[in-house]
Symmetry: C2
Subunit: 269 residues, 2 copies
Amino acid sequence: MRKVQKHDRISVITNILTNNPNKIFTLTHFCNIFDCAKSTISEDLDVVKDIFAQYDLGNIETISGAAGGVYYNPLMTKEQIREFTNELCEMINHSERIIPGGYIYTNDLLYSPTISKNIGRALASLFKDVEVDYIITVETKGIPIALMTAMILNKPMVVVRNQSKLTDGTVIHMNYITGSNHRIKTMCLSTKAIKKGSKVLFIDDFMKAGGTAKGIIDLMQEFEAEMVGIGVLMATKNPEKKVVEDFKTLLWLDTVDENNKVVDIYNVE
Amino acid sequence: MRKVQKHDRISVITNILTNNPNKIFTLTHFCNIFDCAKSTISEDLDVVKDIFAQYDLGNIETISGAAGGVYYNPLMTKEQIREFTNELCEMINHSERIIPGGYIYTNDLLYSPTISKNIGRALASLFKDVEVDYIITVETKGIPIALMTAMILNKPMVVVRNQSKLTDGTVIHMNYITGSNHRIKTMCLSTKAIKKGSKVLFIDDFMKAGGTAKGIIDLMQEFEAEMVGIGVLMATKNPEKKVVEDFKTLLWLDTVDENNKVVDIYNVE
């Protein structure tokens, strides 16, 4: 077997960090792979860190001390988010996406792993300073972007269901009122899903009046958990007043003009 | 700005390929990033390819010719799949996972981005020689592993629903019979979801008699699409005879002994 070269270490370290966003690796982890000294790995990490910074690939963060290590935070810059959400607007603004009733067909975008991963990366970037234990969402369409956000933040995802299934075991079952048309709907979540005292970030594909987000806030009280953020792909301009106070959205949907086949959607500056 | 070094190219190329499994990049793509000659990138790719092979990180494949390029296929080796599914068995085989009725609580595993990504990688590896246009699944619990399989294979995912929603637009709605207890259930899929003549791979978390998989096969006929593979995380030993012929599973579930609190689960050799 050939001698381990610096290129080898740079490439393997890059692969491992890229594949495991926000997971902390000790220097020893890499020392064991290459059978080399910590000082060598430390130098390599400095090189990788500089390269990632220079090419806007996200941040390599080092934690010093005995419990120290290194992790990769694939943050998007504001410019990268703007560029990506511009592309999303272009993809969404097509007349054939308009569904009778003023809705928009977005399944293909939400279910594309490439697009949902970038949405997750953008949403994770919006909440980079928030401490979170779980990413929570409601079935079904929000699951891919919630999972991708969870993957980027390296946190477990929790899915609230509209009806409980046998395999959920014991569940907490709550009725809530939708924000826009005041219908009664149901939320169910396994009692095993969230530990007491946790902080949760709610991620969903769409927000109109915010009734679902409000429902999750109420449901979290039953788990003695706290909602620390709400992030959605798309929020409607109307109603302007939502039933929740703070939320972040990547896109604003103004009007869907069924007659003239125009979707008025724009990204957040 | 400092001069571009070989380390820079190796690290950036590794990051881009790792972040975009099975996406083909032209050499020109990388030439533009570094403002260098194709021959330089070609040499770099050979280096990365050798490193990935040596450290079992998956395959770097090059396509020669005018339409040529390079892509990363993060295949797991048989040994890696065995090791990972062994870990899964250990995680699942806990008495507190047993739900009355002989079911097992696995939501936390399925909804963990790290675990579902590895499941997706293992499932994608089982179907590495199959040509696929879409990954298809049925809501809800199968979505994360289907999305991760789709991410690894770089294909869109399609989610069949139990009832249609406004935002699905026009749907095809089909009743089918569950394989184990012969109940009538419903499958709905937007007519926009799949192009005619496509090949689909069905991914789900659990298979008992295979009624859902059979339902998808029938549903695909309405889309003039062909099911080319069925992959599940876990299949039950009983009934031994499933209603579908060919499927692949990572785990076999033999018995769930509610009295003695033992789960008999094992991986495929």
